[in-house]
Amino acid sequence: MGIEKHVPTRALTSAFDLVINWARKHSLWPMTFGTACCGIEIMSVLASRYDLGRFGSERVSFSPRQADLLIVAGRVQRREMYVLQRIYDQMAEPKWVISMGACASSGGIFDTYSMIQGVDRFIPVDVYIPGCPPKPEDIINSLLLLRKKIQKHESVKKEPDRKLKDIYDPHSDYHPRFPEFRKDE
């Protein structure tokens, strides 16, 4: 809320944190960045049999500015990484990232010239789900694991808990690019 930066110690806000974290973890609004096969499993999770809406994620937003959970579902190519980074920067704090599937966590079976070997080289990830594709029960399990992490979230922090500089990659600066129309159109 902004006021947290001016509060000197954590002791003043711990009671607030209990209530606020309880509210946050029961109403996560996901943004599903589904690129490939894992995207179809996300659609199955949001459908009627494995309903994700009963865990509070009823409203799936497609705009990063209105979401607080980013589910990276699918393989990420080099060109797509620019897009993903821009989306991650547009989300408002506090935000969490779930990396779903083998391809988003570590490259999967695609160890080729154009695939990113793990999304966590460029954006920080909270929960990894293994599987190709993971079963819908695994996805629901990961949401429950994330809730435990959210309960421990502190709004007044001494140091940031994500050190992006350890794995910073010089290729990761995104630059907007405007592709061209066809010449004969």
Binding site: T112, Y113, S114, I116, Q117, D169, S172, R182, K183, D184
Partner: protein, 173 residues
Amino acid sequence: MNNNLKKAVKKIDKKFKDVVLKKEYFRGDYTYEVKADRLKEFMAFLKDDKTTSFEMLSSVTGVDYSEYDDDKRRFGIIYSLISIKNKIRLNVRVRVSEERCRVDSMYGLWHSADWQEREIYDLYGVHFDGHPDLRRILLDEKDYGEVHPLRKDYPLKGKGERHSPLKDYGENL
């Protein structure tokens, strides 16, 4: 169906004796290898003539034959044609060398060659004369500049274009 194929093959053999370099029959399909400079009239005949009448070009494939045989003509382009009226299929192959890797584009006859030829230019580096808009389609111009990844001398993991390796964790590429 087999009758139509035999009639079509007989007519092509009669008319284009000097253009056809090789004729192969493998697993039930015919493949013609033709000279690269006479390709356009050969294809125009295949499209317009009544016995053959190949209205649809279903697939354009590129192959790098450098480790297949010792021919100097390194790149091969294979066109797979299908005739809806006569219900027959045919393959046509053209081979070009590395110094002069230019082929006539089939965009004027069949528009389905549009993106498939762009893909071959992107991944192999073969130019198509007469194509209205020949530029890269699957890879990024800025990141992959001069690289044509499907050639046989390019490694599977690339030469460092995807991202820099994590040296602290022992990665090499």
